[in-house]
Symmetry: C2
Subunit: 441 residues, 2 copies
């Protein structure tokens, strides 16, 4: 039966392309409709991040279609954060051998598109979704000047934070929606390789310049450059609004990121030419109407501060595939089950991503924060299965649901708040009764 089923995927981004591989390999006829031209033939349009942090959840989803090894070849391991303050301080993300991977969005997407085609999925570029008929599982698609209507057995909207499929779904009765922006925008900048062709900063780290109300970060690229991202409020005393002239930009960077300025020869030009992006969180429910489903950012766009947007979208694909196995491809059961299972996790990672922004820009340079990390690392060493730090649960585990990580993380935080009130803790922490701390969890 499944061979006769025709599935439309709207969006040929990272999640749409990976899902196309999963579904084509299951034997479905898969048609993918993408608004943009084929990125393999055209330059990627600006305004989206150039590199991303691939971690264990994403890797697991890629493994299950046999692509993890190939994709990790072009990835640069980042073992921890390099904090740029008065001096540089390295904070490992986890234990030895645990790291996240800086990957190129374009490179990853290209591989997924090509693999999806190999698996039999058909791609239709420059096809814009204008309308969805949920009753008939139909799409109205615009290609250049032509508009056509097509019907399918299942439609999956993998068309990102500003999903056209969700916009149509939003206009059906009793659709809950929240779209909210943080007060910060972002701008991408670049640290090129040195004249001798080398990385200008430690390559195996995610660099952070935490400045409380704002921050600069940098991720390594295979060409030995770094992509930097400035996260700064749109308005206020220190804001994009105040950085209109090249002199303003240079003065701001010299004051706040003095060690980065010499590494960024094109700073003023990049700042002027690159767009200022905004950062949205999208929460909605339900994720399906009749036989149309939202997935990835279309269902749950989050801010980038936990590096989990792509990983969560890839995990969506893996979990949807698991449910198709479990329910023998009965989509009538799979669609409601998917949203029921996955919605609490989507809400949890949305919250964790917002919380982690405060940690990255404001707390990573605190002595208190560093001491907490040290104590938690010791707890994890002593009781590896009983105390798993929140960052590890989210990033290095691929089987703990995000909602579980959030819940346990909140308990850990309450316990650690109490531990940190121990008088003289900075000197005496190694004498703590770790057994008793773990037993409170």
């Amino acid at each position: 039966m499944r061979h006769q089923h025709h599935i439309a995927i709207v969006g040929a981004g990272l999640v749409g392309s990976l899902l196309a591989i999963y579904l084509a390999r299951r034997g479905y006829r898969v048609s993918v409709f993408e608004r943009r031209p084929d990125m393999r033939k055209h330059l990627i349009e600006g305004g989206r991040s150039i590199n991303l942090a691939l971690s264990n959840r994403g890797i697991r989803a890629l493994s299950e279609v046999g692509l993890a090894a190939m994709l990790k070849k072009n990835a640069i391991p980042m073992h921890g954060r390099m904090i740029h303050d008065d001096k540089q301080v390295f904070q490992p993300y986890g234990k030895d051998g645990q790291y996240i991977n800086s990957v190129s969005r374009g490179g990853l997407n290209t591989v997924l598109l090509t693999e999806a085609e190999k698996a039999g999925a058909e791609f239709f570029f420059e096809h814009r979704c204008l309308h969805v008929d949920f009753q008939k599982t139909g799409l109205t698609l615009q290609h250049h000047q032509a508009v056509q209507h097509k019907t399918f057995d299942v439609i999956i909207g993998a068309d990102g934070a500003f999903s056209a499929v969700r916009l149509a779904m939003q206009q059906t009765d009793r659709f809950e929606l929240r779209q909210s922006y943080i007060e910060h925008g972002y701008k991408e900048l670049r640290i090129p390789p040195s004249d001798s062709g080398d990385f200008q900063l430690e390559p195996n780290a995610l660099h952070i310049w935490p400045r409380k109300s704002f921050m600069l970060i940098a991720l390594p690229n295979p060409d030995k450059s770094f992509t930097c991202t400035l996260f700064l409020p749109f308005e206020g005393a220190e804001s994009f609004k105040k950085l209109k002239k090249p002199e303003d930009v240079k003065a701001f960077f010299s004051q706040h990121f003095p060690d980065a300025v010499p590494l960024m020869p094109a700073l003023a030009e990049d700042f002027r030419d690159n767009p200022t992006g905004s950062l949205v969180t999208i929460q909605c429910f339900p994720w399906h109407r009749h036989s149309t489903l939202l997935i990835g950012d279309a269902a749950h766009a989050i801010v980038p501060f936990y590096g989990q947007g792509m990983n969560a979208g890839f995990e969506d694909c893996r979990i949807l595939n698991d449910l198709l196995n479990q329910y023998d491809d009965n989509w009538k059961h799979v669609l409601p089950e998917f949203e029921k299972l996955r919605k609490p996790d989507a809400d949890a990672i949305a919250q964790l991503a917002l919380d982690n922004f405060v940690e990255m820009r404001d707390r990573v340079a605190d002595d208190d924060f560093l001491l907490r990390k040290k104590i938690e690392a010791r707890l994890h060493d002593l009781y590896p299965d009983r105390w798993i730090p929140l960052y590890t649960m989210v990033t290095f585990c691929d089987d703990l649901p995000y909602a579980y990580a959030l819940e346990v993380g909140q308990k850990q935080q309450a316990i650690m708040d109490e531990v940190m009130r121990t008088p003289g803790i900075a000197r005496t922490w190694e004498q703590l009764d770790f057994q008793s701390i773990v037993s409170r969890l």
Copy 2:
């Protein structure tokens, strides 16, 4: 200068029509585009409430264009709630002479349309807004098969909870939006006049059958019928989902509203034929982009339980007009000022309306609730300017902002919670030290 300005209003409902009167009288050229046919020539389509409670904020807005007296002629005063429990108990809304008004939506809208035309506004019916160009202040409008583009000096979206103007605005950068539904739906039913042509219930009251998780209400009409509305969860033990067959409906009504059933001869047919509506709250920000503004339900749709949706929309018109006076018709100042001034009030009445549902369906029949009302009425009698009950601030005042009412109401509630813990309060309340209670506010 203002005479040259051309203003488009999208939506010829209650708020759009009243605003057209205000703006045409200021000397603007006003064009109103309405998706539906002219309601004066066609039957109103179903799915919207038939009567509404007009109270002081709405009356003030109508007064300022000289229409209050005319409109109050066709209104039926409701001096309080009539609670249908084991027996009927009347609870006045305020002091003698304070009442809300049951008015017909269609009748009111018809008067406003005709007055707006008299004031010089032009109406274009069966014109659907397809798209808004905020940069150019342009509308794309569809009339039958023809699509046209028009530009204006100002566009105002008064096109209701499912506003097309807001849908376009939602797709601009950094637009905050929340649309959320309560778990209850509603269905309108009817109590016709008696055989002798009389009201079958007390006409000067809003009738409530409070049943904790659901309720029935009834408002009087000039033709001596009542429009009843059942508010009931969509799903669950007692829900619309469980009322599929006429027998189910009759059994449910006989069990829960035994005194209403004999008054509703067409109950089963009405129940079957009338749609089940859903109840949305819309919160968004900003309310303007360039020279396009949202107003009324388009900016802040609320649930109907405080009877303030229309009143808030009418108050929007009055306040916008006040700002045009204050800023000498400089829209560049008026638009940001309007949203800044009005957004906290919109959020406050949204919250109050949700809270009042719990009061209406669950608390109005409690002895504790009645005693609180009695004590508050005494406080208001003794200190009319210092203790104004929340319901009075919202409903019978026309100058206290909703946000102020909410804030003071919360303080009053905290004080009353404490008062209600006085031992033996039910017997001894008249001996309370009212002076000291008021002084805590």
